[in-house]
Amino acid sequence: MKTMKISIALAALIASGVAVAGDSPAPTNAYLYIGWPNDGEVIRAESFRVWFGLRKMGVAPAGVEKSMTGHHHLLVDAPLPPMDEEIPASKNYVHFGKGQTETRLSLPPGKHTLQLLMGDYNHVPHNPPVMSRKITITVK
């Protein structure tokens, strides 16, 4: 039992050495969340606003290096990308490098997932990474 605990601790220690996050520090109590829509929301509109909730951390445009800041990335129907690389830019990984704190989104009918991930001035997630819960919405 004790050996198992030690080996788990060791594995965690080794894992932390293996680039699981970028180099820019984030406050450990930073809180990122999707303010709207709510998880499970059913949306009957062609487009809708998504607002980005962020506490204990600030927003800065891409390219601006300021401690404890970053910019929002909205993951649409996509898994989390690697935490030690630049977040890809595609229609599934939307960058808000101008420092936006909300957006308007238009999605085809069906189920969709949304998740927020902060990236630093270089678009690389922080250490520890700051991400929201992944929510599911339905567009009718």
Binding site: G35, G58, V59, K98, G99, Q100, T101
Partner: protein, 142 residues
């Protein structure tokens, strides 16, 4: 003709002299507003997260000069300050120079007004100035 150009030039030179706003442009359609609280809201205990809504512009920390960005200022129980000067820093004019889009606020019991005013890297409102509606909230006595 030459004279009218001269007059026009003089006028444009004079108008900024009237100083109704800062020098940093804001895009048409820019808007700041309260996501929460709402106008007329009663807030038990007086401690809450104020959530700042912003459209058609971005947030940047104070001191960072980037087109169409700025940082939030929360005006508590006060009127809008002059638009051509640095927003004062006081308990009635709270700066969020770290680029925050929400803030913890504590208000004593009573009736309070809240208003958001966006400002540039130098804490001076944009041209045109971007500010929210002034809302009223109530904190009940315990």
């Amino acid at each position: 003709m030459k004279r009218s150009i001269l007059v026009a030039t003089m006028l444009t030179a004079l108008i900024p002299g009237l100083a109704v706003a800062g020098d940093t442009p804001a895009p048409a359609g820019a808007k700041v507003y309260f996501i929460w609280p709402k106008d007329g809201q009663t807030i038990k205990g007086g401690k809450f997260w104020a959530r700042f809504g912003l459209r058609e512009m971005g947030v940047a920390p104070a001191g960072v000069e980037k087109r169409f960005t700025g940082h939030h200022h929360l005006i508590i129980d006060a009127d809008l300050p002059p638009f051509d000067e640095e927003i004062p820093a006081s308990k009635n004019h709270v700066h969020y120079g770290k680029g925050y889009s929400e803030a913890r606020v504590e208000l004593p019991p009573g009736k309070h007004t809240l208003q958001l005013l966006f400002a540039d890297h130098n804490h001076i409102p944009h041209n045109p100035p971007v500010y929210s509606e002034k809302i009223t909230v109530y904190v009940p006595a315990d």
